[in-house]
């Protein structure tokens, strides 16, 4: 209601002349003036309109002013309506008291003094206006509180939806660090309940090597109000630790007072594994470069020495004994040459990749190793589902397979079975089409503690017999073709099986090269 809104003033009198004179007196107030000639008529008006002030003659036929006031008062809507009585006769204080009890607010005696009537009516009109304004304001406030409550509820719902849908684990704590809330993901990952992790209950989810630092770091933040960040392993319900990057930030109210802490834990295990792998690759690459440089520096004098012994061995001045020494030296030099050639493994005999049948290369290798199959008593099982035609350098492939087959044979000194398969694989997911070669043996197997280091340079399980470069080089070659090399070794009931699987992408159109299924031959 606006300040200037007109209010209604109801004038009740059975004498039209009096009504007219009131009208004349009150017109200048600028309010709405309504006339009623009887109590009944006045009640009708009251029921239909919001009246600020009722100006009423005490003595009226039918129903006198007091009676009417009583009726008006009974209606809850009119309990606060101001009633001014006009009395032609002198009223005793007792009469006035009766009037007040019935709800009158003021009296005016006849003869009416216009200024007095105007002033009194005006006061009550203004009062009414103010009350209406106050009511409106009150209503508005209530509506705003209601809206705000709804907003808060909505905001709360939105927050919960958000907090439960983010990939992070999230939590909130009071200013002293007591946790108040965790999101659903926290419970899903840790498999705990709120009660489990209350107080210091969450400590048990931390790795023993990290928990002290984490607790100290958080305590420092509770004390200083500064944000916290750390990376540590957190125990999942599957019993495995995963690495999380965790942060806690203080939340302040509008007065700058710290009201709570909001924290998140982001799973960074995969990034960490990728970074670790990258570091390892870089280390290996650096090692490869160093090996290459050293090999080169060694190769020059090595050639000279080899040539010198070659000449010495055949020199006519030497007796048999000296010649034998020279021959031994030559043999040992050949071993050194072999090692440096292995680390110079990316040496290619052909200078361009050519179409190569993987199956044929494997057959060459198996034939070369034929003697060892017989000596060790190893049975051969071949299954070529494809000729495995790819663009490659045959010598490189030969080196890979010679290494795998050689290792397998060495793992079976007292016999066993070697199974070699070649098959073409179709494109699947982000894996392109290609050739998969597997070499499986029933030999001594790979110890789990060796598994991780198998492809590292200079790692060998064959003591002085191995250079520790075979698998490292094989992996390097396979990776050059964007391929992969992996293995599985299982041990059961005293026997074991080890399978190396090489995948080389980019199979060429299959040709009916007569290399279909061959098996059995050993």
């Amino acid at each position: 209601m606006s300040v200037n809104h007109k209010v209604n003033i109801l004038m009740v009198d059975d004498q039209p002349a009096k009504l007219l004179s009131y009208d004349a007196i009150l017109t200048e107030l600028g309010e709405n003036l309504i006339k009623a000639s009887s109590g009944r008529e006045a009640l009708e008006v009251l029921l239909k309109t919001d009246v600020a002030v009722v100006l009423m003659d005490v003595s009226m036929p039918e129903m006198d002013g007091f009676e009417m006031a009583e009726i008006i008062r009974q209606h809850p809507r009119f309990q606060k309506t101001a009633i001014i009585f006009i009395s032609g006769v002198h009223l005793t204080d007792l009469d006035k008291l009766k009037g007040y009890q019935r709800g009158a607010v003021d009296y005016i005696s006849v003869p009416v003094v216009p200024e007095v009537l105007r002033a009194k009516v005006s006061v009550f009109a203004e009062l009414h206006r103010k009350r209406r304004q106050l009511e409106a304001l009150n209503h508005e406030l209530e509506q705003r509180v209601l809206d705000r409550t709804e907003e808060l509820q909505e905001s709360e719902t939105r927050f919960r939806t958000l907090a439960n849908s983010i990939p992070q684990l999230a939590w909130m704590a009071d200013p002293g660090g007591a946790t108040l809330w965790y999101n659903q993901r926290w419970y899903d990952y840790t498999g705990t309940t709120f009660d489990d992790v209350q107080g210091s209950g969450w400590h048990k989810l931390h790795h023993p090597e990290h928990v002290e630092r984490v607790v100290q770091g958080l305590q420092r933040s509770w004390d200083t109000g500064e944000a916290w960040e750390d990376t540590f392993p957190l125990l999942g319900k599957d019993g495995e630790y995963r690495w999380f990057l965790s942060r806690a930030v203080p939340v302040f109210d509008s007065h700058g007072k710290l009201t709570r802490w909001f924290g998140t834990c982001t799973d960074v295990s995969r990034q960490m594994a990728a970074e670790e792998a990258l570091r390892k690759t870089e280390r290996l690459a650096a090692m490869g470069r160093v090996a290459g440089i050293i090999a080169h520096e060694i190769n020059n004098p090595l050639e000279a020495i080899t040539n010198a012994f070659y000449l010495l061995e055949a020199h006519p001045s030497l007796d048999e004994e000296a010649r034998a020494y020279a021959r031994m030296a030559s043999e040992e030099l050949a071993r050194i040459s072999h090692i440096t050639r292995q680390s110079l493994s990316f040496y290619r005999e052909s200078q361009q990749a050519v179409p190569v049948s993987v199956a044929r290369v494997l057959d060459d290798v198996l034939e070369l190793q034929g003697r060892h199959f017989r000596i060790n008593g190893v049975e051969l099982d071949k299954e070529y589902k494809s000729s495995g035609l790819i663009l490659a350098y045959p010598a490189e492939l030969k080196q890979v397979f010679l290494n795998l087959v050689g290792n397998a044979l060495q793992a079976m000194p007292t016999g066993g079975r070697l199974r070699v398969t070649v098959r073409e694989t179709a494109e699947r997911g982000n894996l392109p089409r290609g050739i998969r070669i597997s070499v499986c043996d029933t030999g001594t197997g790979i110890r789990p503690e060796d598994a991780k280091r198998l492809f590292e340079p200079f790692f060998t399980t064959k003591s002085t017999k191995g250079t520790g470069l075979g698998l490292w080089i094989s992996k390097g070659i396979v990776q050059k073709y964007d391929g992969t090399i992996k293995f599985r070794s299982v041990r059961m009931n005293g026997s074991s099986a080890t399978c190396f699987s090489v995948f080389i992408p980019g199979a060429m159109a299959a040709q009916s090269a007569g290399l279909t299924t061959l098996s059995g031959a050993s």
Binding site: G292, A295, N300, E303, T306, A314, R341, Y347, Q351
Partner: protein, 122 residues
Amino acid sequence: MPDSKVVILCVDDEPNSLVLRKLVLQKAGYEVVTTNSALGALDVLASRQIDLVLSDQLMPGQTGTELARQIKDRWPSIPVILISGVNEIPPDATIADLFMSKVEGPVMMCQNISDVLVKYRS
């Protein structure tokens, strides 16, 4: 026994390597001329009959492949073999008739030379 008239020009900046390689080749029955740089090799080639060039790859000044390119430009009928201790085969190695490793040994070296010569004669 190869033709005794075959003359090999041997190029290497390392004196010991050069002398020993020369001796191995002489023992295999070749006549050997030596020089310690690509420029020296070009001088020799301009002044006398050479049947095959056996050059080191990494030398001060011009490399073996650079020397091979110039030989192929000016004397296309002379075979060139590069012998190297390097890890990576240079991309332009195909300019030579053969790119071999130093550690393949004296027997393999002589075999490679004789193979290339046979190819050129036929």
